[in-house]
Amino acid sequence: MSSPALAEVTTTEPPAPPVPRRRTRRTAPWWFLAPALAFYLFVVIVPSVQGTAFAFTDWDGLAQVKNFVGLDQFRRILDDSAATGAIVNTLVIGVGITVVQNLVGLLLALGVHSRIKTRNLLRVLLFAPAVITSVATGYLWQNLMTTDGGLNQLLDLVGLGALRQDWLGNADIALYSVIGVIVWQFAGYSMVIFLAGLQGIPEELVEASYVDGAGPFRRFWSIVRPLLAPAFTINLMLSIIGGLKLFDQVWVMTGGGPGGATDTMSTLIYKNAFQFNDFGYGIAMALVLTLFVAVISGVQYRLLGRQGK
């Protein structure tokens, strides 16, 4: 579309008003990109390329010498039960958060997208945890989840004392407790995105389904759900990527414990690189995490893109 018009401009001199392309090219010069590109190259691209290369060395982060060791670091990951455990935990967190947070977020969005009088207040309150730093929410929940903390006291109060737990100290359930905290903090975030989608659905469509006698479930499944496809895509992408990279809340609440039960790839990368001075190994793990994020979000994007059409 562009090249014939351009050729015309350069070969002939039209007396008519100049072609817009020529004008906009003059007014938007390439060097406007330069400062942004410089920061981006320095902070993201160059270190990512270096990181990829260092994953094949035995660098400890201090010595000048880096020996090429091929795939040794990746083989170490497979033999290291801490690393494989963290990979499993990361996948459980990624899937768990994606499913639960979006389910809760969707139900909340449907709840506040209604005639109820408290809808505006609820929207504001439910989103509030998402703007608080994870360090604060992490410590808050660490206290609430101790054996004599607020959560167990609440369970006693409502007669569910049998469910009392050492929520973060019990290796069998600590990971799920972490997922629960993330859901509490970010369900309102998912809600807001679903809500924006719901508000974009034309009233007439919903009204028509009343006339046709569709029940609430039929109405949701056949009318609302397909129109919410873009909101689903964004929400699922955000939560799976956020879940796979999770660091802050785990680091604050459990530090990866008890006994590695809540270690994620991100906490283990941090430990290996900055506490055990095993940089090459840490970076190899980071590369594996990169592949997970790229493959899982790529596959998800494909599947959802198809569903949306």
Binding site: P20, R23, T24, R25, T27, A28, W30, F32, L33, A36, F39, Y40, L41, F42, V43, V44, I45, V46, P47, S48, G51, F54, G61, G111, V112, S114, R115, T118, L121, L122, L126, F127, A128, P129, V131, I132, T133, S134, V135, Y139, N143, L144, G150, Q153, L154, W184, Y189, V192, I193, L195, A196, K245, F247, D248, V252, Y270, A273, F279, A286, T290
Partner: protein
């Protein structure tokens, strides 16, 4: 759906209970922060003997004042740079139809896929080698680079649907590129600039991992890191710790409640892109 029926009333009741469940942790937080350490009453019941002593202690022990200033400086400087540089970059990316422009845009989008963990360790080395480690400026550099792809993405998306007539009129009037950008294009970008500011400011203000790495072992701290070391030090004194947590989250919550409409809209519209 238009009228307030008994079904609506049931929904209202359910939603209010859910809302209370979400607020419950914050209620406990505030309640405990107002109790004396020797107060043995339940965390769930409003304490009868309110004290502000914990707040005074937390403020003194945690050094939150300096951390506030650092967080504010880092957030303001980073967001200002991000807004100017990403809007500037988005202008040719959205307006020039040439191949270099399309490739450059895709190159920026690549940054949305790369997890920070991969760049984390080599970047730490580089920042150390150029002598920025332990300064708040290291954070500014990292945030500007890190947030660039997403911000460029938002600006380009907005500019592409903005009609170019205003710029053409200004070009006829003989405005140069910088003048044109500053007085015509940038003011037109105001709505999306609001979104870019909100999303970046909240992400940077709350970030924990970056300052944990780049400021560790120094007196310089941002709020999340100051909070982290404060709590680590006084872990058994929960009343004071909770007062510290309240102090740290009050400013952001205040901004949020004052601007909730535009903040929620900013999140929703920015991520629709």
């Amino acid at each position: 759906m238009k009228r307030y029926t008994w079904r609506t009333a049931v929904l209202e009741l359910v939603m209010v209970v859910v809302g209370l469940a979400f607020v419950f942790p914050v209620y406990v937080l505030v309640n405990v922060s107002l109790k004396r350490p020797d107060d043995q009453s339940s965390d769930l019941l409003p304490t009868s003997a309110i004290t502000l002593r914990n707040y005074a202690d937390a403020w003194q022990q945690a050094g939150l004042g300096g951390a506030f200033v650092n967080s504010a400086v880092v957030t303001i400087v980073s967001v200002a740079l991000i807004v100017v540089l990403s809007a500037l970059a988005a202008y040719p990316l959205a307006r020039v139809g040439r191949a270099w422009s399309r490739w450059a845009f895709l190159f920026f989008l690549l940054g949305l896929l790369l997890p920070f963990q991969l760049a984390l360790i080599p970047l730490y080395q580089t920042i150390r080698d150029v002598g920025l480690l332990g300064t708040v400026w290291s954070l500014v550099v990292v945030y500007v680079g890190l947030q660039m792809p997403f911000s460029v993405f938002l600006y380009v998306g907005f500019l592409r649907v903005l009609p170019p007539e205003y710029e053409e009129a200004a070009a006829i009037d003989g405005a140069g590129p910088l003048r044109m950008f500053a007085s015509v294009v940038f003011p037109l970008l105001r709505p999306i600039t609001g979104t870019v500011v909100i999303l970046n400011a909240i992400a940077i203000w709350n970030d924990f991992l970056t300052p944990l790495l780049y400021l560790s072992g120094t007196q310089q701290q941002t709020l999340p890191v100051a909070l982290y070391s404060f709590v680590g030090q006084y872990l058994q004194q929960w009343n004071m710790v909770f007062a510290g947590l309240v102090i740290s989250i009050v400013p952001i919550l205040l901004v949020y409640f004052l601007m909730q409409r535009s903040i929620i809209q900013g999140f929703a519209s920015g991520l629709k892109g």
